[in-house]
Amino acid sequence: MTALMAKNNKHLKNVSNIIEGLGNHKDPESVQVLEEIGTNSSLDVIREMTSRALVKKNNHESLSVVITNKGKGINDLSTMVAMSTINELLGLKDKTEAIKILADTVEKHSDEEVRDNARSVKALMALS
């Protein structure tokens, strides 16, 4: 059991380092890799790491992934993942792009739940 846990921790550490590296990567394709693999993981902890890395990138593509997609980022079914993503958004120094995407989502998104979430986060960001 201890060996399994150690093995799991080792892989999680590698995943964390790769996600962090992709978060700082200059290639725009890094966002696609994070979305495709990280946000679709069955492990909450990996989805949380991925969402935070995408928010830190703070560009239109990366923020769109965590704001407008149902079941990802602020719309994740896991409260831990959603709250962690919102916390990362609130901690951004430049919130311009995030607020712009949130406003567009509130106005134009087809899913009501996504719109409601975006509205709530937008209100929080306006207060912070």
């Binding site: 399994l4 150690a6 799991n8 892989h11 590698n14 992709l22 890799v33 990280g38």
Partner: protein, 175 residues
């Protein structure tokens, strides 16, 4: 006037108790010979000396019982000491027999350290494995974020997919 006949003189010489008894102080008299005398103008009204007659303890029923118990215990003490000595002797005999038997058994028994050797081998093997794992984990830092930043996305993607899959599998096994 004293009678100075030979018989009286002989009696006086050889039968002293008769005459001395008559001159001895009565037993109930005080021991202080100066009790009634003046002493520097003051009269000693009380007997300042303790009586020289020792007080003999009354040998009552309770005392008799205690004495009887003491004598009884002293009587039993001898038998107890004897029994103790006999026990010691018996113990010595048993020890001697035990040592003899043990020596005989040792002579007859073939001593083998095979199980101990196996157990020790297993323990060493486990310790070696644990140490190896710990040393490997210490030096095997895996991939770092800086290394990933300098890699191509085409190389990073399969690596991330593989690590995520392994982490998910390990999490399932742990759960």
């Amino acid at each position: 006037m004293a009678n100075l006949s030979i018989s009286n003189i002989r009696e006086r010489i050889f039968n002293t108790s008769k005459h001395e008894a008559s001159v001895a102080r009565p037993a109930n008299s005080v021991s202080n010979p100066f009790a009634a005398n003046t002493f520097k103008g003051n009269v000693l009204t009380a007997d300042v000396f303790e009586t020289s007659k020792p007080k003999e303890p009354a040998f009552t029923g309770a005392t008799k019982l205690k004495a009887s118990a003491l004598v009884g215990s002293l009587t039993n003490l001898g038998s107890k000491i004897q029994a103790g000595i006999e026990n010691i002797v018996a113990f010595g005999k048993r020890m001697k027999e035990g040592i003899s038997n043990a020596w005989q058994k040792m002579r007859e028994t073939e001593i083998s350290f095979a199980p101990l050797k196996d157990a020790f081998k297993g323990a060493v093997s486990n310790a070696k494995e644990n140490m190896t794992n710990k040393i490997n984990s210490m030096f095997d830092k895996g991939i770092t974020a800086k290394q990933v930043e300098n890699m191509k996305i085409s190389d990073i993607k399969p690596m991330l997919a593989g690590e995520v899959a392994q982490a998910e599998d390990a999490a399932k096994l742990v759960a």
